[in-house]
């Protein structure tokens, strides 16, 4: 079927089977391999994308669900400069093997949009659907928390 949607800011016309998994569409058809797959069943969060600004698992979505939506993958999350969340992940050492990182960054974006100043517990809850096997999460929480503080400071 034909699907019209916006992918990383560009109007995109897709010709694909309606039941094609979105993660496959992104990785195989559009070459957007920053979206990772690590379980294929919604248990790990590695395939997280933003759909109309909210985090969604692309391994549990089918192509037809994209009609009329705005999709952001990690490749489109920052344009000329790194997004502050990406910078924070680098600066705070939140990246090891990196396979969970794109999903984590986008889960953090979803959180900070809903709650600009989350505490550590709220951050841990927000990323609890994203598994990381390397870091123990601490530096990921540090990275996101650094942005929450910045938000608080700028409010003063």
């Amino acid at each position: 079927m034909k699907i019209r949607c916006i992918v990383n800011g560009e109007q995109t016309d897709l010709e694909t089977a309606p039941d094609r998994r979105v993660v496959d569409l992104l990785r195989e058809d559009l070459g957007l391999c920053g979206t990772k797959e690590a379980c294929g069943s919604g248990e790990c969060g590695a395939c997280t994308i933003l759909v109309d600004g909210e985090s969604r698992l692309s391994c549990l979505m089918i192509a037809a669900q994209l009609e009329g939506k705005e999709i952001v993958t990690i490749e489109g999350f920052s344009k000329e400069h790194l997004h502050p969340i990406q910078e924070a992940f680098i600066v705070h050492g939140a990246v090891q093997c990196g396979f969970c990182t794109p999903g984590m960054v986008l889960a953090a974006a979803d959180l900070l949009k809903r709650n600009p100043a989350p505490d550590r517990h709220e951050i841990r809850r927000a990323i609890s659907g994203n598994l990381c096997r390397c870091t123990g999460y601490q530096k990921i929480v540090d990275a996101i928390e650094s942005l929450a503080r910045a938000e608080e400071e700028s409010d003063e």
């Binding site: 248990e43 790990c44 490749e75 680098i90 600066v91 705070h92 050492g93 093997c97 096997r133």
Partner: protein, 788 residues
């Protein structure tokens, strides 16, 4: 927030040009010992880093493996006609189509690429199918018909060793016994009779699944020159290339293995996973590239696990609390194939006395074939299992003689120059004593009784400690060699050819740190080539906490060679300059008397191509002590020379109603030599501890009658961000003479003491000890009921 260029006082963030290129505030080098952002972080946060899983070359076809549904069976017939008739099928291959040895594995070459006469575990590969796309592949795989004659199977090491047990590998004289060995000192049997107190325990340790996020994957093709080229998620590209060549019957020089950054591995990709199948598929795909990417379920069913096993440990001390006698018997289940089972058993045995002096000891180890899924390398390599037993018995013994468990450990802890409980002379850096002293003086330890008393209703609290030790490198017989290659490019920048795969620990970023320090160059002047058997030099596997230890030492040598060549060239070009007045500065060589700089690109252009590439090989020093052990015990890695040490402290709160354990606080004091990059050091400790916490509490990999029951991440419970506390990691720095810049490998030590530390806290909280891990709510509730 911290700004990019002042955070940690560090510089260096990769820019849009990609991996290995950095923006820096200044052109200054970042000295080893201070924070340097990882070179791989930029590519990973932007999603641009290409893992093996991300390869989709044009003309791609897919391969998949039809696996055995039986734990042990003879193959009577394989009917491929139905599969061959399916649309889009390119090849259907069996063991009979393999021209080489059809065997992989190290040191025992016992694992078929595809089963030939029989299958030995539920999931053993039998038929390989290659098809145009994944859906056609699935259909064709379903059409393969294999007729089996089921054979009696054995699922536990004890019955596997019994007379008349079904034998997995008929050609083995030793039957199902893969390995057995002894390490002894003095007369342990008699020494127990001299002890004032003796305690013992039999501990059952579970399988642990690595659960790296990137499941086993790769792409392969045969190019126009007949070279089988493979991009694969592997910790051991050089060893793989030789194994693939032998198994498939192609010349080693016709196999090229490239190992991009891995999406995690932890030991689970130390050796062949999909490589044999990929290679075979590529040989039969008409030159088209072939991809394999295991599903999570296939990964769980087919990949190796941490060895499950039973450790029986007995420990005795004299009246004043001096450890006097130790006996330890460990029996591991290696599953259907040997993998690294022999070395894993010996690493476990070789650490059975932990961080202690003990006068007499006897350690017996066995590893046994069963019809279970294969076991293999996993962070800690046999050591977490043994330390789990030892450190719990140490607590039990301290209680028996009425000593504080920390003072008891301190009293018996080794110092530099001491002989360990296994007779190893601690000749290199070792500071477990300071680790223990810092724990002793910490408020969480000194204030533990008060915290425990304040437990709310229906909660139990406990505080536990444990120590750990882990030898780095391969041991005294297998040479631990790394060969570094470093090139000065004609534009004046440098390229490092990594010889060791980076599975996420950051060792290849560390290469930039090391070379930058020696050559006095900022990180943005370096680029990295990930391991490629055609471009880089064999520096062996990403394992044994050796990656930076070994390759770093080789790189120091190579950087030194290149530095001399650069300065020599300037001296040659400028006869009036005295060689001793030349130094490297960022981007140039400086003539110090007049401060004039000659740009590196100018020098590079004047150098012969061969002179711009420096290589150097480093071989790890070994422990030359002559200890009376069998040759295979020595060959598999006993004794080590340099060790890392740790003391862990935790407090836990147990819910009496649900049996759930909440880890309230966790601290780790670690001696891993000098710290090269503080935040990367912390990454390893934090990640290792949390993986150990999962091993202790939640990760329960179930196998019933040889069949994997936990097939996904909703039944195999990994720690999530909600389950774990922040870890306080405190380095206790020493200077390790054999390590680059005084460092020791820090990749594994974090996991070693976690299970017993938590188990000791839990035992204190509930007033009884649980001998089976993980400490699930069911086991906690049972123990609570028993104690009541």
């Amino acid at each position: 927030m911290k700004k990019l260029h002042d955070a940690h006082g560090a510089t260096g963030i990769p820019d849009e040009k990609g991996e290995g290129h950095f923006h820096t505030k200044s052109d200054l080098p970042v000295p080893v010992g201070s924070d340097l952002f990882r070179a791989d972080a930029y590519g990973k946060v932007t999603g641009r880093e290409r893992y093996a899983a991300d390869e989709y070359p044009a003309g791609l076809v897919y391969a998949g493996v039809v696996r055995s549904p039986h734990p042990h069976a003879r193959i009577l017939a394989i009917d491929t006609t139905g599969a061959l008739a399916c649309p889009g099928v390119i090849a259907v291959l069996t063991g009979g189509d393999i021209r080489g040895t059809n065997r992989t594995g190290l040191p025992e070459m016992d694992q078929p690429v595809l089963a030939d006469t029989k299958v030995r575990f539920t999931g053993d590969p039998v038929v390989l199918v290659v098809a145009e796309d994944r859906e056609l592949l699935r259909q064709a795989m379903a059409a393969v018909k294999v007729t089996y004659e089921p054979l009696p199977a054995v699922f536990d090491p004890d019955p596997a060793l019994a007379k008349g047990a079904p034998v997995l590998h008929e050609n083995r004289k030793e039957g199902n016994l893969l390995f057995s060995g002894v390490i002894a000192k003095g007369d342990a049997d008699f020494a127990f009779s001299e002890c004032a107190a003796v305690r013992e325990g039999i501990f059952s340790l579970p399988r642990q699944e690595h659960a790296y996020l990137e499941t086993e994957t790769g792409v392969a093709k045969v190019d126009g020159d007949g070279v089988l080229e493979m991009i694969v998620s592997t910790q051991s590209p050089f060893r793989d290339s030789r194994e693939i060549a032998a198994a498939l019957g192609i010349p080693p020089e016709k196999v090229r293995v490239i190992a991009p950054y891995l999406g995690g591995a932890f030991g689970g990709k130390d050796g062949i996973t999909v490589q044999g199948h990929l290679g075979l598929a590529a040989l039969h795909s008409g030159g088209r590239p072939v991809k394999i990417w295991n599903s999570r379920e296939e990964s769980f069913v087919s990949s190796t696990k941490r060895h499950p096993g039973r450790v029986s440990l007995k420990l005795g001390c004299t009246k004043d609390g001096t450890l006097h006698a130790l006996s330890c018997r460990l029996i591991f289940d290696t599953g259907a194939y040997a993998g690294l089972g022999g070395p894993v058993a010996v690493y476990g045995m070789g650490h059975a006395a932990g961080v202690y002096r003990v006068a007499h000891s006897r350690v017996e180890g066995m590893n046994v074939y069963t019809n279970n899924p294969p076991s293999g390398a996993f962070r800690g390599f046999g050591i977490p299992q043994v330390i789990a037993a030892l450190e719990q018995v140490v607590d039990m013994l301290a209680e028996s003689i009425g000593m504080d468990p920390l003072e008891f450990r301190l009293k018996n802890a080794i110092r530099v120059g001491d002989e360990t409980g296994l007779g190893i002379r601690m000749s290199n850096s070792a500071d477990i004593v300071t680790c223990l002293e810092k724990a002793r003086d910490h408020p969480l330890w000194t204030g533990r009784d008060e915290w425990i008393r304040q437990a709310p209703d229906y909660k139990r609290r406990g505080v536990g400690i444990a120590t750990g030790v882990l030898g780095i490198g391969y041991g005294p017989v297998i040479p631990d060699i790394a060969s570094a290659k470093l090139e000065l490019l004609t534009d004046g920048r440098f390229r490092i050819y990594a010889g060791v795969a980076d599975m996420g620990q950051g060792n290849n970023s560390a290469n930039i740190h090391i070379a930058g320090d020696i050559l006095c160059q900022s990180p943005d002047r370096f680029e990295l080539v990930q391991p490629d058997t055609f471009r880089c030099l064999n520096s062996s596997s990403s394992a044994a906490s050796r990656t930076t230890y070994s390759y770093g030492n080789a790189l120091i040598l190579a950087a030194g060679v290149l530095k001399e060549r650069i300065l020599d060239k300037v001296a040659q070009l400028h006869p009036l300059f005295r060689r001793e007045n030349l130094i490297l500065v960022p981007g140039a060589v400086r003539h110090t008397p007049d401060g004039s700089d000659i740009a590196l690109h100018t020098i590079a252009e004047a150098m012969q191509e061969a002179d711009r590439v420096a290589t150097a090989t480093w071989t790890a020093p070994v422990n030359r002590q002559q200890l009376a052990v069998a040759p295979d015990v020595k060959m598999y890695g006993f004794p080590h020379l340099a060790y890392t040490f740790t003391t862990h402290l935790t407090r836990v709160e147990i819910d009496e109603i649900t049996g759930a354990v909440a880890v309230d606080a966790y601290l780790a004091w670690t001696d891993a030599g000098r710290i090269m990059n503080p935040h990367v050091y912390e990454q390893q400790i934090q990640g290792g501890v949390i993986q150990g916490m999962g091993y202790a509490l939640w990760e329960d990999f179930r196998v019933t009658e040889g069949a994997v029951v936990t097939k996904n991440l909703s039944t195999y419970i990994l720690p999530t961000s909600m389950d774990v506390p922040d870890i306080l990691s405190v380095p206790v720095e020493t200077y390790e003479e054999s390590g680059p810049f005084g460092m020791k490998g820090v990749g594994e030590i974090g996991i070693v003491a976690a299970l017993p530390c938590i188990a000791n806290a839990v035992a204190g909280a509930i007033g009884s000890r649980i001998y089976d891990a993980p400490l699930t709510p069911e086991r906690i509730l049972t123990a609570l009921r028993r104690a009541a």
